[in-house]
């Protein structure tokens, strides 16, 4: 049970940790470029985590009721909604991110940015945390040997958070332009991932029609392999996505890549727009 708990908690924590690292790398970029004259604050992080855990706890306590709703596909509908809102927030973040110096001082814009980041973190923790609580609560509640599960969870959480920290330093260790490029690219892939996951869930619930598998790369990179799991958590890798999933993924990707911050990253607007 120890190893099992490590894997389950790691999978869930990893997604939320990678998401938070990406957002923090964006904040760091903003603060560096503006030289402290305009500051994006970081004090929302702790609050979002606490709020996310609280929501996950509420979700977890109403799990049966949610699961039974909509003719037993309530979980899919709820989670697809969470993914859709997350995707919308990631896209808004890309479009709100200031590319001109004057925009960096617009308090409305900065408030909108922080709001998007808070929503993304809260929803990630709500999504992943509720599953951990189901696993942990259900098994601990049965009085089985709980200690190895608890230690497994702690180890899993530790590896997940460490991977997040590693990503943060990988993103911020690059040159300032390289860092923005990597951040925008990851943001686009994450938005695509959220859109694709929402489609998958609605398919599982039979709320969207079946579309054939677009490709099969399970021989190249299996989803159950360590690398496959990491790719899944980071960019939503799937070995056999459906056509509808691929279309949704590309839409999310393109909408972020079409944003001003993406043009800034590649064309370098900043130089002319000071």
């Amino acid at each position: 049970m120890f190893l099992n708990a490590v894997v389950i908690v790691l999978q869930e924590i990893l997604e939320a940790a990678l998401m938070l690292s990406l957002l923090l790398a964006f904040v760091r970029y903003f603060n560096l470029v503006n030289g402290g004259a305009a500051l994006l604050r970081r004090d929302w992080v702790l609050l979002s985590i606490v709020f996310g855990i609280l929501l996950a706890w509420i979700y977890s306590h109403n799990f049966s009721r949610i699961s039974d709703s909509f003719d037993y596909v309530g979980l899919e509908i709820t989670n697809a909604s969470i993914h859709t809102v997350s995707c919308a927030c990631l896209v808004s973040l890309a479009w709100l991110f200031p590319v001109k110096k004057s925009d960096a001082y617009s308090s409305n814009r900065l408030f909108g940015l922080i709001l998007c980041m808070v929503a993304v973190v809260v929803l990630a923790i709500l999504r992943e945390g509720s599953e951990i609580m189901q696993f942990g609560g259900g098994i601990l509640g049965q009085g089985e040997a709980g200690l190895p599960i608890f230690y497994g969870g702690v180890v899993g959480a530790g590896i997940g958070v460490s991977t997040g920290v590693l990503l943060y330093y990988a993103l911020t260790g690059l040159s300032i332009d390289g860092s923005l490029k990597a951040c925008v690219l990851l943001l686009a892939l994450t938005a695509g991932n959220m859109a694709s996951q929402a489609i998958l869930l609605l398919n599982q619930a039979d709320w969207l029609p079946f579309t054939p598998t677009a490709w099969d790369t399970s021989a190249l990179l299996g989803e159950s392999s360590v690398l496959g799991q990491l790719a899944y958590a980071l960019i939503g890798y799937e070995a056999t996505p459906s056509i509808l999933q691929v279309v949704a993924y590309l839409l999310g990707l393109i909408v972020v890549l079409a944003s001003p911050v993406s043009r800034l990253a590649w064309v370098g607007w900043r130089k002319q727009a000071v």
């Binding site: 037993y72 189901q134 259900g138 619930a205 969207l208 579309t211 677009a214 056999t240």
Partner: protein, 118 residues
């Protein structure tokens, strides 16, 4: 490599008209066959589910254990938590012939099964 990309692109575009079917699907929902799967003592009963090829199937899962379980399958692209002493529904397919393993993520050592598509 180029051929792979071209073929994938072709398949993607071939699928686009399917999007137009989204509103229609709500009206012409044919009866979906339903099969039962039970979880007991962290085992699946039956451990082998036989379903016809190219047919959407509704799996109704009863968890008779007091502990939660997560139905998971990489091959089927499915993942869903079922609460202890609970009931749920998962739609799969239409699928090509073949074997699609699934497992219970919370008790993967014992909870193993396979969907056989014929």
């Amino acid at each position: 490599m180029l051929i792979i990309i071209r073929n994938t692109a072709r398949r993607l575009f071939a699928g686009l008209p399917l999007l137009a079917l989204v509103p229609i699907a709500g009206f012409v929902k044919a009866e979906t066959p339903e099969i039962e799967l039970r979880i007991r003592d962290h085992l699946f009963f039956p451990a082998t589910l036989e379903i016809p090829a190219n047919q959407k199937v509704k799996i109704r899962i009863y968890n008779e254990d007091p502990t939660p379980e997560e139905f998971e399958s990489f091959e089927l692209n499915r993942e869903k938590v079922i609460v202890g002493n609970g009931e749920t529904v998962i739609f799969i397919g239409p699928l090509k012939t073949g074997e699609y393993p699934f497992f219970g993520e919370f008790y993967p050592k014992t909870a193993q099964g396979v969907v056989v598509v014929k």
